[in-house]
Symmetry: C2
Subunit: 553 residues, 2 copies
């Protein structure tokens, strides 16, 4: 009798697992049960079908060589049995059977190993009405319906509720090609509140607003009232009238089947698995968006429904089931998202999250070039680094800019995964040539900024007001005249004159030193401190503040 | 009496060191001696001044905020004493003095700590004539002279001797804007022979040839004969007649001063330093292109004259001199170079180098998308991974492509630095969103390919002939018809039909399975091996071979 493996869910995790297991165990019986009849979509591409960047849904269901990943493909090429249109109703872990309902009625199937790859579903708001004008964005039907509405000109103004990953991608999708009016509503104080702190979030907000998206943060949606001609969204006491509301307030793991089988959930509410992706019930395994992972920084369980992790988990689980010593390790939670022309990436913990976890964390901000500053295509990169001053451990990195942003965070993730310190960040090696990077890697510079901070050369959040400090602007006269400090009074002494004009500074008051990017001002602060003058500088420089649209709001 | 530090050489390492030391030790006397009167150029940008990508030399001598880094800048902004136009003639380590010759004659200066940042000089060919038509490319005078020649139309055909980093950058610079005929001569069998193996090198060669550069590899230059109207370069018995020859056969560390002071050189011929960048002589330190580093993969001394390392060394040395516990660690030798529209990056050891070092190394090749395959801007990335099958240790990574190439190697460098294995590579975490990456990172896929190789699913170099194996083409019929296998006979069975048509294969002969990128063929090989049919596949797929211009030459 050959070993029989059942996989519930033809998602990334389920199919990766099944296909690899087939390669490793050619004689096993491997069956994938999937409730839908159209599956195996690269769902992360859905927003780009809506935006028109990608022509159609079929592209998301095709291999790199253009083969459609339908049942025939999985059967002929991958050697898998796919029971599509089959909803699994119950699992009996003792008898090792499952009950499913398919096009031909009910059936009971036996298994030796069962893989739960049930994915996630969009979260709903309390009291969210079921109405065609109030949509989710999760499955291909959602994409098709919205695209139809756009093509027919029925969506002139849309409210996107939730500025998480999907929310900001949707805002761009509705706005960029179709030119719809978009109001993006976020209960937290800034977009992407999970991965980003307010400073990096302000850059994202500005990127959205620069393209005409109306961003309203800091107030939860109170009520959604659809009618025949539109939807009224009440939020912060103020109604927004739109043609359509899309709710994108995150996803919840699909765990009902697991629960009914007695499989333990973790504290995040997702299925708890160990490094082998084993659940609490012997011979029942789980992978993908229905599971929780271990976060490398906190050491705690976390819910990270990311396609990259689901794909890797599926592969690892296949190896484990085939009898290999493979393990799925902790994750840094590396993520990236495109916001019109701006790239956003993060890994590890935000400052808020780190403090919630009990770290004595602080953050620093910096702006530098992503390539040699004299390279014509170089772009500003803004990095917010979260770390623990006492241990120097790096806890998180957030980066925003038009250029090599995800790249910096890819490397930061490697450092976060091994608990690296600011010292290691300072010495990070990188591929250098002027078209690719500055001679000192942006991440290394972020390390220098953190080191300075620990040594007392402290930076103030780029969004905060001077707060009683007098402002010293150390830029070149031309820079100062082209774009003066616009948030109150300032004294202007170019850094090259500072050594000679120290007497002009009132030594008895605290100073906030500012420059374009924070480099010169940090140097000036160190010099002033050595002369017993109280000073700090504007983190990330005026470029960060300008890019974010001003002081904190 | 304040501590006195003398730095010899106003290069990246010397100036970084001096400037940071000034910040850390505001009361020390810090003097930089520099033989030239124009220095502090970002020399890595020189080829791009020649090409016209960068307007002028001054840009390479300016800060990000546009300040010229001349003596006044270093004195006023950085608080350093610069003795420019001063050549150091001798060092007395006992008396702690140095003798220099400057515009005002000889002087003897005392020091407490001496930093050698004497850089490197272009290597010369044996018998290289001193003639205006035979140039090096190292200092700004070289750039200016060549640019003048181009502007005046005096350089219609140029021979670039040496296809290292500078050589290929020069080939592009002469060719792209100016349209000069360029003949690139390389003694080794392929361009960039130090970081790359023949397979990755063939991609670079093809990228050069696609832009009209004539590439001649595998024969050393025998003689260079300049005359009044041109230069004849004899190479492999064949003369090349050009207007100008530029010799770019690497650099040699400037160690004469160190030697004369009794400072020990390492086995590479560069100054030997420890992790503190201390030389063998107390109170004499060294940083930058005059020193050797420790290679993370080999554990051996290596000579890596890279701007990124020089900058970091300068910083670290300042910290050490200031009394801090900083160290300059081993390096992976991460490098990158742009070759017209193609990016090339590498870290660690090539296969050839790894074997020379005694590793039982092997290589695998792969081609994949640098972003989601359905993302319109995704590009092929070719990765050659060098590893040790027995220990699974990763020894090196080479990547070539039009997209996110340096990024992958930046991450690979982090793995190489900590001696990571193929297993760790397979599990590499990355920032995923369709515009930035595929769901499985290209590096992870390279790990899968290496794992497969170890398990017997072996790939053949993409440049090698089938060597007695029969060729099985498993692509779609449309792909096969659009671009058939062109190197001999082949049997075509699309992968989706393979399970049903196994009988068509002669089970007694060895097979080479081919497909576009190596993915399907690897899967087919595993499946054939399970059925006791001897098979391997074409590494990196036909795309690699086509990109490289065919079979090995």
């Amino acid at each position: 009798m050959s070993h029989r493996v059942m996989v519930v869910g033809a998602s990334a995790a389920g199919l990766r697992c099944a296909a690899r297991l087939r390669r490793l165990q050619p004689d096993w019986r491997i069956t994938v049960l999937e409730k839908s009849t159209a599956y195996s979509f690269a769902a992360c591409g859905f927003p780009y079908v809506l935006s028109g960047d990608i022509d159609g849904l079929e592209e998301l269901r095709s291999t790199a060589w253009g083969a459609l990943r339908d049942r025939r493909f999985f059967e002929e090429v991958k050697g898998l049995e796919i029971l599509e249109g089959h909803r699994v109703l119950a699992i009996d872990p003792e008898a090792k059977t499952l009950d499913a309902e398919g096009p031909d009625g009910f059936l009971r199937l036996g298994w030796d190993e069962l893989v739960l790859a049930t994915g996630a579903s969009p979260a709903r708001l309390p009291g969210q009405p079921a109405h065609p004008r109030v949509q989710s964005f999760h499955v291909r039907e959602d994409v098709a319906a919205l695209k139809r509405g756009l093509i027919h000109g029925e969506i002139g103004h849309v409210a996107v509720i939730g500025a998480g990953l999907v929310g900001v991608e949707l805002a761009e999708a509705f706005r960029s090609l179709w030119g719809a009016e978009v109001t993006l509503l976020e209960a937290a104080g800034h977009p992407l509140p999970q991965p980003l702190d307010p400073e990096a979030g302000a850059l994202v907000r500005a990127a959205l607003e620069a393209e005409g998206v109306r961003v309203r943060c800091g107030a939860a949606v109170e009520r959604i009232e659809p009618d025949d001609t539109g939807v009224t969204v009440l939020c912060g006491g103020e109604p927004v009238r739109v043609d359509l509301a899309v709710v994108a307030v995150g996803v919840r793991p699909n765990v009902e089947l697991a629960k009914s089988a007695g499989v333990a959930l973790g504290r995040t509410g997702a299925i708890a698995v160990d490094g082998r992706l084993a659940t609490s019930v012997p011979h029942i395994w789980a992978a993908g968006d229905c599971t929780e992972v271990r976060h490398a920084v906190s050491g705690e369980p976390a819910y990270c429904p990311l396609g990259s992790l689901a794909n890797r988990q599926g592969r690892v689980l296949a190896g484990v089931l085939a009898g290999r010593e493979e393990r799925f390790g902790s994750v840094a939670g590396a993520m990236a998202v495109k916001v019109f022309g701006v790239s956003v990436a993060a890994a590890g913990c935000s400052l808020a999250e780190a403090r919630r976890l009990g770290f004595q964390a602080e953050a620093v901000w910096m702006t530098t070039d992503d390539r040699a500053h004299y390279w014509p295509e170089s772009e500003d990169i803004h990095i917010q680094l979260v770390f623990e001053p006492e241990t120097l451990r790096v806890l998180g990195a957030q980066a925003v800019g038009k250029g090599r942003v995800a790249d910096a965070v890819d490397v930061a993730a490697q450092l976060l995964l091994r608990g690296a310190t600011v010292t290691e960040l300072e010495g990070v090696e990188h591929c250098y040539a002027p078209p690719f990077a500055p001679a000192l890697a942006p991440l290394a510079v972020a390390g220098f900024v953190a080191r300075n901070h620990v040594e007392g050369v402290r930076c103030l959040s780029p969004l905060l007001a001077a707060e009683g400090r007098r402002v010293l602007d150390v830029r070149l006269t031309a820079e100062q005249q082209a774009r003066p400090w616009e948030w109150g009074e300032s004294l202007h002494i170019p850094v090259e004159e500072l050594r000679g004009r120290l007497a002009e500074l009132d030594h008895s008051v605290p100073w906030l030193v500012v420059c374009e990017r924070g480099t010169r001002s940090a140097e000036a602060v160190r010099w002033l401190l050595q002369r017993k003058i109280d000073a700090c500088y504007l983190g990330g420089g005026m470029i960060w503040r300008w890019s974010a649209g001003g002081e904190s709001r």
